[in-house]
């Protein structure tokens, strides 16, 4: 079973995220849980160092990069140690070159997969979707980012809050950086107006997260099933399928739905060079759109679609304008009619070529 993930989010360095993480770790340790420090960012803060005393720290992995010696979390050692709870600071950190994972949040993912609970910390400015907004607010482009899904997937996101004035006080008192560095920071990143804007972003982020969780909790499984939409676009390796996929994506966006793309290949069918190019282009487009490309093999297109629809909980199917002649339709049946018949409760949408619309008569 995957471990529980708790993220302590702050507006900036110095609000007390690491301190809070250690406090929670100590509390858990006092309650009898097996707690280790997976990685503690060495901020040279005496209070933090004192608080860490008494908690076991998993030895770090030392690597050399040019003349630099770098310390990283030893993921394998944490997993081998198998504690109940690991405290891992700064999830947005970029690992040294040559490490298995590029980012620490990927390391944390492995630890969680091993069934270990994790408490981690991060500042709001590292959130990928806020990168541009943060750069505008602070004139600083943050290089170390993490995807928004990390917050969404965490079991709990807790805001570690401090007023901008209180944070400035901490800076002046040398509790965040050495005094000479603190003075420079107070003139730049840590100005009240910037901290206020960052605080607002952090508060909003956590409020949205709480709202999203509340909605998930309010809906019982049955109503969730009724509300969740999932779109399936049926494609073939030909240029017009690009249009089908684009229209399906636009509808999926409006519905807030996941998008699947399905191509059913006839067994043994060889693709022409043009078809191979079209298929590769469709796959690339699916990646750009964040859709899932599925390829099935079968003689019976409708049966293959039906299986996918029921497996994935599809509610909408997008299909191109049928190109079968009326003669073929009379003799062998229409694809759209067959889909309507075989997929009760699923909306079928036929994607037309807008250029086929008759001109409006003025």
């Amino acid at each position: 079973m995957r471990g529980r993930y708790r993220i302590l989010l702050g507006m900036a360095a110095g609000v007390g995220k690491t301190y809070r993480m250690l406090q929670e770790g100590k509390q858990a340790h006092a309650e009898g849980r097996d707690v280790v420090i997976g990685y503690l960012e060495p901020h040279d803060r005496p209070d933090t160092a004192v608080l860490a005393e008494g908690l076991e720290e998993v030895p770090r992995l030392r690597t050399e990069h040019g003349s630099l010696e770098l310390n990283e979390m030893d993921v394998d050692a944490v997993i081998r140690r198998a504690p109940e709870l690991a405290l891992i600071d700064e999830l947005a950190h970029t690992n040294a070159p040559g490490m298995r994972n590029e980012k620490r949040y990927q390391d944390i993912d492995e630890v969680l997969d091993a069934g270990i609970d994790v408490i981690s910390t991060v500042n709001v400015q590292h959130l990928e979707s806020l990168n541009d907004a943060i750069a505008e607010l602070t004139d600083v482009r943050v290089r170390e980012t993490f995807p928004d899904r990390i917050l969404e997937e965490a079991d709990e996101v807790v805001l570690v809050d401090l007023t901008p004035e209180a944070l400035q006080e901490r800076l002046r008192a040398g509790k965040v950086y050495p005094k000479e560095r603190a003075e420079v920071a107070l003139q730049n990143f840590f100005r009240v107006e910037k901290l206020s804007a960052l605080r607002e972003l952090a508060l909003r982020e956590v409020a949205e997260d709480v709202e999203a969780r509340r909605q998930t909790l309010v809906l019982d499984p049955l109503s969730q099933q009724a509300v969740a939409e999932r779109v399936l676009a049926l494609v073939t390796p030909e240029p017009r399928s690009q249009r089908i996929l684009r229209r399906a994506w636009r509808s999926a966006e409006r519905l807030g739905a996941q998008l699947d793309v399905l191509w059913v290949r006839r067994p043994g069918r060889e693709l022409s060079e043009e078809e191979q190019v079209s298929l590769a282009a469709l796959r690339r487009l699916a990646i750009v759109l964040g859709a899932h490309f599925l390829e099935e093999e079968g003689d019976d297109l409708v049966a293959a679609v039906r299986n996918i629809v029921y497996d994935r909980g599809t509610t909408y199917v997008f299909v191109g304008t049928p190109d079968e002649s009326r003669r073929r339709e009379v003799l062998r049946g229409s694809l759209v009619s067959a889909l309507v018949r075989e997929l009760p409760g699923v909306d079928i949408r036929v994607v037309a070529n807008r250029a086929d619309r008759p001109e409006r008569v003025q």
């Binding site: 690009q242 190019v277 304008t321």
Partner: protein, 183 residues
């Protein structure tokens, strides 16, 4: 059976055949046929595509019986993984590609649209022509800061494009005020 009955039966049968034949002859909407090995004209763009450039590209494609390949180039910022979905940019690209496709199909030119991504416009272009064949490239020149490739990108394009490349200058959006007053 009398002669009249036979005549009536014959008329009904003929009517039935005529109806069936008419029904079977009806065609689905015409789809533009793309002959195998047809020429392919790439029209890459970012942000927007000037209508003058689009119309010129459509005319060229029609004259050459070619397939028009409008390609929206998505720029993936370095802070994102190259495979990240970029919904904001895609939201801009979608209606543009629909409009381009619509204009081309109305003019009787088959279309095979693309969205290609890269760290820069030239990176996306290179990725595109590494996997697909093009017989001609029509590239829009800078257009009053609204779309079009930069001078640097065009220079790169002319140097590295694997095929004949045509750079089209869009129509100026507005004549300068002093020209208006002089008129």
């Amino acid at each position: 059976m009398s002669g009249l009955d036979l005549a009536l039966l014959g008329a009904v049968a003929a009517l039935g055949f005529a109806l069936a034949a008419a029904l079977l002859r009806r065609r689905p909407p015409r789809r533009l046929a793309v002959p195998a090995g047809a020429r392919r004209i790439l029209v890459p763009f970012t942000g927007s595509l000037d209508p003058t450039v689009l119309q010129a590209a459509i005319r060229i494609a029609r004259a050459e019986n070619a397939v028009l390949v409008p390609a929206y180039l998505l720029i993936v910022p370095l802070r994102y993984d190259e495979d990240s979905p970029l919904s904001d940019q895609v939201k801009m690209a979608m209606p543009l590609l629909e409009a381009v496709e619509h204009a081309a199909l109305r003019a009787g030119v088959p279309v095979d649209a693309r969205i290609e991504k890269g760290r820069t416009a030239t990176h996306a272009l290179r990725r595109l022509w590494e996997v697909e064949r093009f017989d001609r490239i029509v590239a829009p020149a800078p257009s009053d800061g609204h779309g079009g490739f930069t001078e640097k990108e065009l220079a790169w394009l002319l140097l590295h494009a694997p095929t004949e490349t045509l750079v089209l200058k869009p129509t100026p959006r507005e004549l300068p005020a002093r020209l208006h007053s002089a008129a």
